[in-house]
């Protein structure tokens, strides 16, 4: 759908493609895979129902109502329905587009709008500003104010999400981006050169994880270049329905990374990987098809990349642990990377791998869903925790910071002993 045609009751800016909604033949294969449908049992909260709502808006049977907006944001965007759909319907992406529509139909009130624009357009587009903004949070932890707040009743005074957000925050270290050398040489026999896409949440919340990612890559024989001018991948903007800012970020990253002489562009954040792989469609109208296709071909999640290249296991230390794996939605459903992380885990000597029941079922994190819908998010999380419990694992491996935050928080709240680690942390443990 070009930007000038108007589709039914949608606005002309960023409307769904009519063909994309017609594609759904309503077979319902998506229904048993949808966590929100499992929660509510309401057809409108299912992928089939959501696409039907979008179709009704397109066919002028329905205005873009409050309920359509509600469903667009209640969708976890976990893409489990995309995996399940034999017809190739992408309900999650249709809902992302409807989020963008929602902001056009229901503009936020002044304060909310200014805040949203400030976060999405000023903060997240500017890595320096983002890093500085985390300073108070680090001080908050370092100076012992966190201890004080947690042991007072202070958190009970605010809305539920404030307490949850506070509780989810991991122990913060200084951001990784300014510390990481532009180029880290390969260790041992050199197998190639990769660029590292360092996501915002990784550098801010999990700098020590991404440090391990770089370490593992170099020990696997890859020289790692990390361009410091890289910006946010645009995933938060997509989920919040700000497609315009996503496009300008995408263009910046595309130009920056395509100027590098690398075999692959590797990321350790499933959310970033999924967004980067969507640049091709997002920037379709800019016309640089070859460049976009080449970029798309180079984007690899770190597990995907290492499995493709073959893990060098000689000299690896055994890790004598019982391990299970939670699949991030944005890795298995959005990128189709499901087999590779398991292969890597099983290749590590000493590991006792236990398959997690419903491993690819969302953990309820889903960007800001876990804060916007705290109750529903908890129900989805409980289902996950039950499955984790049943494995008897000591370590829960995952590959995305959103899942990491949610699962670590959930396990702690439930008093469960499992430690959450990123797959590259596990690989790093085995790397002498």
């Amino acid at each position: 759908m070009s930007h000038t045609d108007k589709l039914g009751n949608f606005t002309s800016e960023d409307a769904p493609d009519y063909g994309d909604v017609l594609q759904c033949m309503r077979c319902g294969f998506c229904l048993p895979t949808c966590p929100t449908f499992a929660l509510t049992g309401r057809e409108r909260s299912s992928p089939r129902g959501r696409v039907a709502l979008a179709r009704a808006v397109a066919e002028q049977k329905l205005e873009f109502t409050e309920a359509v907006r509600e469903e667009a944001f209640f969708c976890l965007d976990c893409r489990a329905c995309t995996t399940a759909c034999p017809s190739g319907v992408r309900a999650g992406e249709v809902m992302e587009i409807c989020r963008s529509q929602a902001h056009q139909f229901f503009p936020l009130k002044h304060v909310g709008k200014t805040f949203r624009e400030f976060v999405l357009q000023k903060m997240l587009t500017n890595p320096d500003l983002l890093e500085t903004s985390m300073l108070p949070a680090r001080l908050y932890q370092k100076l012992g104010i966190q201890w004080l707040v947690r042991h007072s009743q202070l958190l009970k005074l605010g809305p539920e999400w404030v307490a949850k957000a506070e509780g989810m925050m991991p122990e913060l270290h200084p951001p990784l981006r300014p510390q990481l050398p532009d180029v880290v040489p390969a260790v041992g026999e050199r197998r190639g050169r990769v660029a590292f896409f360092l996501g915002c949440i990784m550098t801010l919340m999990y700098p020590e994880v991404s440090r391990q990612t770089v370490r593992v890559l170099t020990h696997q024989g890859f020289e790692v270049a990390t361009p410091r001018e890289q910006k946010c991948c645009g995933a938060p903007h997509l989920t919040e329905g700000d497609r315009g800012t996503t496009r300008s970020l995408a263009q910046h990253n595309l130009d920056l990374f395509m100027a590098l002489d690398v075999d692959a562009i590797v990321t350790d954040c499933a959310g970033c990987g999924a967004a980067l792989k969507e640049y091709e469609e997002l920037l379709e109208e800019a016309g640089e098809h070859n460049k976009l296709a080449a970029f798309r071909g180079k984007i690899k999640d770190v597990s995907e990349f290492l499995a493709e290249q073959g893990l060098r296991t000689d000299g690896m230390q055994p890790v004598e642990k019982v391990v299970t794996y939670h699949e991030p939605c944005h890795l298995c459903h959005a990128q189709g990377v499901s087999r590779q992380p398991r292969e890597l885990i099983k290749a590590i000597p000493g590991i006792d791998f236990r398959e997690l029941n419903e491993a690819s079922w969302c953990c309820g994190s889903a960007a800001t869903f876990s804060l916007k819908y705290t109750g529903e998010s908890q129900q989805i999380l409980d289902r996950k925790l039950e499955n984790i419990q049943a494995t008897g694992a000591e370590l829960l491996v995952t590959a995305n910071p959103g899942c990491h935050l949610q699962l670590a928080w959930g396990l702690k709240q439930a008093g469960m002993p499992q430690k959450v680690v990123h797959i590259t942390e596990l690989l790093s443990m085995a790397t002498g």
Binding site: G19, L22, Q23, C24, M25, R26, C27, G28, F29, L31, P32, G41, R42, E43, R44, S46, R48, G49, A52, L53, A56, K61, L62, T65, A67, V68, E71, C85, P86, S87, G88
Partner: protein
């Protein structure tokens, strides 16, 4: 329009979360998987007990609302579409498995239990519920009974009807009818349960179902055979049956279907082949061995291009799973997938394929054909675009011609999907006006006011007076 008071009554009886009346909820409860059919109900209810069903029906009667039962909305003939508005009665929250009786080999479930959930629950006790419609992960037992759903195992194990032992249903007059039981034999009067199976929600609302279970086969062998010519595949099927071998599954996919399915499942199906057959024989190991030999000999005799045997149960399972996605996968190609359900005596299979090929060319259409070859039940599917009226016109002409031939061969217009809205014009052609009159009298006996799923199965006017009915089909009039 339904009154506010009536909605209030429904909420009092069923609970607020079990009544939906906002437009956004109603819009998405007015369709099933049948293309091009969509109607808005006035209210939708989700009762959780038989008493709740009864209460909802009483209120609907009082308001003069038609009542349309719905399971998961995976039907393929429009059976659960509220074509005259009214109340959609969703049974999918009545989803408890009430009993698995290991002494009598039966299971009793509420109508909203998902087919595969029942299969898994009884498998856990070493028992087997064979009917497995393509939508078994989603479809409900209530829906299966109402449409008499078939599946991949129909050839050897039969269809839903063959497993229904007892039904509990609510009739429009407010009575609760229990028919059948756990007795293996039962000839006490008319067999109401057999009338209710396949009645498409027009006679009563089923709330509980008792089904027969059997011991699972001890062994199985799965073949995948490729063909350069779809008619040869048809010939292989007829020959296997003629050799007195009854496989549990004998499924066919043509080239268009193979390619769409492979686009989705990516398990290495042969894209260049004209057709493939998925054949499974099961039972006692000695019998499996003997039948497998027989099947292989026939496949070689008709010169199948390639013959493969599944190496493991997982591989066999993934092949069956791939086959189940056929219809939805065909929807990848074009926006609209018009599916049909023609069924012929098995000896006519090869000729039916030839006819489908001829008509595809005649009307200039894209058609993907798959189906239960062993049952003579084919699903020729026209891949089209509902926005193109000329193409839709040609698609309907294609089916008109095809059904004329199918009926001439003694076949049926619906093997397993039901008449619903989609095929009611064809019903009279098959059973004649006299047959339709008897069916309508049965309908009136159960539902004199015509409030249960109106507009389904029967064309409202006498079909034989309609212009498009050709002379040749009035024979039984």
């Amino acid at each position: 329009m339904i009154s506010k008071t009536a909605i209030q009554h429904l909420i009092e009886k069923l609970g607020a979360t079990n009544v939906a009346y906002e437009k956004e909820d109603l819009l998405v409860l007015g369709y099933d998987s049948t293309p091009g059919i969509h109607h808005l109900p006035e209210v939708a209810v989700f009762p959780t007990t038989t008493e709740g069903v009864l209460a909802a029906m009483e209120i609907a009667q009082h308001e003069g609302l038609p009542i349309v039962p719905r399971g998961s909305g995976t039907g393929l003939s429009g059976g659960s579409v509220p074509v005259k508005g009214g109340m959609v009665l969703c049974l999918n929250r009545m989803n408890r498995i009430l009993e698995i009786d290991e002494e009598n080999l039966t299971a009793t479930v509420e109508a909203g239990v998902v087919t595969l959930d029942l299969f898994n629950a009884v498998a856990g006790k070493g028992l087997f519920y064979p009917p497995d419609p393509g939508s078994q992960k989603i479809s409900t037992l209530g829906g299966n009974v109402m449409e008499d759903a078939g599946g991949l195992r129909g050839l050897k194990y039969g269809v839903t009807r063959d497993y229904v032992m007892a039904l509990k249903c609510v009739l429009p007059d407010g009575s609760i009818l229990t028919t059948g039981g756990k007795s293996v034999k039962d000839v006490a009067g008319y067999s109401f349960k057999d009338l209710l199976v396949g009645s498409e929600g027009t006679l009563g609302i089923i709330t509980e179902i008792t089904v027969k279970l059997i011991p699972p086969p001890q062994d199985k062998r799965t073949f995948l055979a490729y063909f350069n010519d779809v008619r040869t595949a048809g010939e292989a099927v007829s020959k296997i049956i003629a050799a007195k071998i009854i496989p549990s599954t004998m499924e066919i996919m043509d080239k268009a279907t193979i390619n769409c399915v492979e686009d989705y499942v990516k398990i290495g199906l042969p894209r260049q082949m004209a057709a493939l057959l998925l054949i499974e024989v099961d039972g006692h190991p000695a019998m499996v061995e003997e039948e497998a030999q027989g099947v292989k000999a026939i496949l070689e005799q008709v010169k199948a291009a390639e013959i493969h045997v599944a190496k493991s149960a997982e591989e066999a399972g993934s092949l069956a799973a791939a086959r189940r996605t056929a219809l939805s996968a065909l929807a990848r190609v074009r926006p609209t997938t018009l599916l049909e359900d023609a069924t012929v005596p098995r000896s006519r299979l090869a000729e039916t394929f030839a006819e489908i090929e001829r008509l595809t060319a005649k009307y200039g259409l894209t058609v993907g054909t798959f189906g239960h070859a062993g049952d003579g039940n084919l699903h020729p599917t026209v891949l089209c675009d509902e926005r193109n009226s000329d193409e839709m016109h040609r698609a309907h002409a294609f089916y008109d011609d095809l059904y004329a031939q199918v009926l001439a061969w003694g076949g049926t217009v619906s093997g397993e999907h039901g008449i619903g809205l989609a095929k009611k014009e064809y019903l009279a052609r098959q059973i004649g006006a006299g047959g339709v009159q008897v069916m309508k009298r049965i309908k009136r006996a159960f539902d004199p006011k015509g409030i249960l799923n109106p507009g389904k199965i029967f064309v409202d006017d006498d079909p034989c007076t309609e212009a498009h009915i050709e002379e040749g089909f009035r024979v039984s009039h």
